[in-house]
């Protein structure tokens, strides 16, 4: 068995290979022919996702060597990682940015697969596994955000528990199950640690392995050509012709692009990690500190936004029915549209759906970055009224400006572009509402504004309305009630409607 002529490493290799017998399989897999046109930069996102998964495994294991999965200590152990261990901050940043990149690349991979019709026969199962891998990637992102165990993580769990609590009949039990007890505490962190570190990664590795195995067995999806329809009877023969007669071996024909892109992605993760640093942790997970504005991580902002816009009486049904329908559509896709045209030139509905979804996600995410629906909790004490609104004002109007600030109106209403955006900006409110209408709106609320009748004295209302009545541009008169002049003069109303409109 041992040829003394061959060098020592060759002998070791032969010794191992004689036992594991993997060389043929690896060579066959590496050299399997792929259709020539699939050696494209469009086909690199799947392998990049897998590389990012492995990167997350490595950085995650390194973090787990220091992290303490205890509600009382987790936050402190992150501080140690950030500030005391050499380059602990960098590994945290790698893991955090790695998760960002992974969510993004997985989504791009999925969009590309959809656009290229790669989910069609015979690759239905590959798509199904991919859908579960996407869900698990999002699951990893959420559980990872929980392990950061800061204020955002704590209240993010609160949102999760509140949504779970809306499940009919068994909501209460599910909340206990989710939290591992009656409140968000040590048991909650421990079970999310188990999910994030054992359950989900192991399942993802198994699913991703099977996913790649299917790609090997069924071949990479050919470049779609308009008019070349997928038919159950002929597809495999056609594909083999494409890959064997006009194909090239995967290694090195196509793999160099995957490898280049993987290197670029890993470098990009490291670059972002080095430049932007790790995520948080923000404040300590102390639920008695309520001066906090919780916000989920970037990839969940779209959900956070959507939850702000659902009508109250439809929210619970929508929260539970829409995801089921959405995931159901994804799972059903290869069985409903598993044959026929692959090219995007001839699938307008598919392309349009993708564009609409992408625009919707981007819009909701963008809204989530500045949350116009949230009151600015400190606007009333932090954002002064622009001086130009107070020039030449009477003492009563200035008193009204004080009432405006002190009663937190500013938390929901902008002045001079600063303040909350929950309600309309009030810079020109006097042109929209008459004095009486302002009084009514302040006292009784309505249109998603609370009634302030109980929180304001009559003197305060008078002052506030006097101030708000000055809120109009100099060249534009405030709205007035025509009937006022009748009441005041006790004469018939002046018949000059055209002129009053002009004004």
């Amino acid at each position: 068995m041992s040829q003394s002529a061959s060098p020592w490493y060759k002998r070791i290799y032969d010794w191992v290979e004689n036992r594991v017998q993997l060389a043929d399989f690896v060579r066959e897999s590496a050299e399997h022919p792929v259709p020539a046109k699939t050696a494209s930069w469009w086909y690199v996102f799947g392998s990049a996702s897998f590389v990012l998964l492995l990167l997350q495994f490595v950085t995650g294991i390194l973090l787990a060597m220091v992290y303490v999965p205890s509600a009382g200590e987790a936050w402190n152990s992150l501080q140690v990682l950030n500030h005391q261990l050499p380059l602990g901050w960098f590994l945290r940043a790698m893991h955090g940015w790695g998760s960002n990149f992974m969510v993004a690349v997985v989504l791009i991979h999925m969009a590309q697969v959809f656009l290229f019709g790669a989910y069609k026969f015979p690759r239905e199962l590959t798509w199904l596994l991919g859908v579960f891998l996407l869900l698990m990637t999002l699951g990893m992102a959420f559980t990872g955000q929980v392990l950061r165990f800061d204020q955002d993580a704590y209240w993010g769990l609160g949102i999760g528990a509140s949504i779970t609590g809306r499940v009919p009949f068994i909501g209460g039990q599910l909340v206990h199950l989710l939290l591992g007890g009656p409140i968000i505490a040590g048991a909650t962190l421990s079970r999310f640690f188990a999910l994030h570190v054992f359950v989900l990664p192991a399942t993802m590795l198994a699913f991703a392995g099977l996913h790649v195995w299917l790609v090997l067995k069924l071949g990479i999806n050919e470049w779609p050509t308009p008019g070349r329809l997928v038919k159950r009877e002929t597809y495999i023969k056609e594909y083999n012709e494409l890959s064997h007669k006009h194909g090239l071996p995967f290694v090195p024909g196509a793999v160099w692009k995957d490898a280049m892109f993987a290197a670029a992605i890993v470098f990009a993760v490291a670059f972002c990690a080095a430049i932007f640093g790790p995520y948080g942790p923000t404040g300590t997970p102390d639920p008695t500190i309520i001066q906090t504005v919780p916000k989920p991580d970037f990839f969940f902002l779209w959900i956070y936004s959507a939850l702000a816009f659902l009508p109250p009486d439809l929210e619970t049904p929508l929260i539970f029915i829409v995801p089921v329908i959405g995931i159901g559509i994804l799972l059903a896709l290869p069985f409903v549209a598993g044959l026929g045209e692959k090219s995007w030139y001839r699938r307008p509905v598919g392309v349009l759906t993708l564009i609409v979804l992408a625009v919707a996600l981007a819009t909701l995410t963008n809204l989530g970055t500045y949350t116009p629906w949230s009151p600015h909790m400190d606007a009333w004490s932090a954002d002064p009224i622009p001086v130009r609104y107070l020039r030449d004002s009477t003492p009563l109007e200035r008193q009204g400006a004080l009432v405006f600030q002190v009663k937190q109106c500013r938390n929901c209403h902008e002045l001079g572009g600063i303040g909350g955006q929950r309600g309309p900006a009030l810079d020109k409110v006097a042109t929209r509402l008459t004095e009486d209408q302002i009084i009514r709106q302040v006292l009784q609320g309505g249109g998603n504004m609370p009634a302030y009748g109980a929180a304001l004295s009559p003197a305060e209302v008078t002052a506030l309305v006097a101030f708000l009545d000055t809120m109009h541009p100099p060249n534009q008169k405030p709205a007035t009630d025509a009937s006022r002049s009748i009441a005041e003069t006790d004469k018939p109303a002046p018949r000059e409607p055209v002129e009053s409109i002009k004004r």
Binding site: A161, R166, L177, A185, D313
Partner: protein, 224 residues
């Protein structure tokens, strides 16, 4: 690359012995194989039952986690005021750290009349903040707003703030608490706030102020 694989010859399968088996032996082996699967299934069931019970361990019936907690002396709370206070959750572990501390709002309407609100917004559980100047609770997440009596004022919540059951024991104020309030696990079973008659699971269409007798808030002026 290993150009000359020196794979050992495949082990000779015991084909001959199998082929020689008579029908009885084969059915016996097949029976034993099926039996082994059945036994494994039974053992799996046996082992899985306690595992499932273990996993469901935290699930308890409504109110089972709750107990009466002292929130301090009655006179610590001034009539007409709403203040934030904290307590240690009755069900907690030493390693829970700060997370077992819970905040709540105590509102004392009169000498013997209190309302104790959970800080969790009835929409999605974010911590609401009390603004005494405008007599409102505001939620930083999605803009839920509640009046001083906890009734829904605006925003996405579909009900009033959660309240705890309270009782006055001599000169101490006690509440019944123990679990995070959600739409399923309310701090107490009945709907709180000014809406005594409202069903707890009833969805509110739009803004429907509670049928209230006393007007919430204060008539105290902030103008000097």
């Amino acid at each position: 690359m290993n150009q000359e694989p020196e794979h050992p010859p495949p082990v000779e399968p015991a084909v001959s012995s199998v082929a020689e088996q008579d029908h009885r032996g084969e059915s016996r082996r097949s029976f034993l194989f099926k039996l082994s699967i059945a036994i494994n299934g039974a053992v799996a069931l046996l082992v899985a039952t306690p595992v499932i019970r273990y996993l469901l361990g935290p699930v308890r019936s409504k109110g089972d986690y709750d107990s009466w907690i002292v929130l301090g002396k009655v006179d610590d709370y001034k009539p007409g005021n709403t203040v934030l206070t904290t307590y240690r959750n009755p069900y907690s572990h030493p390693w829970d750290g700060e997370t077992a501390n819970v905040a709540c709002y105590v509102r004392r309407q009169s000498a013997n009349s209190f309302t104790v609100f959970a800080v969790n917004c009835a929409h999605l559980g974010c911590p609401v903040r009390w603004f005494p100047q405008s007599q409102l609770f505001l939620c930083p997440c999605h803009g839920g707003a509640y009046y001083a009596d906890g009734s829904r004022a605006a925003g996405p919540p579909e009900r009033d703030l959660f309240t705890y059951q309270y009782r006055i024991d001599g000169d101490t104020l006690m509440i019944r608490a123990g679990q995070m309030p959600t739409l399923s696990n309310e701090a107490r079973l009945r709907s709180p706030g000014g809406c005594a008659g409202r069903q707890s699971f009833q969805l509110i269409k739009g803004i429907t102020p509670c049928p209230k007798a006393p007007v919430p808030g204060t008539s105290e002026s902030t103008i000097g």
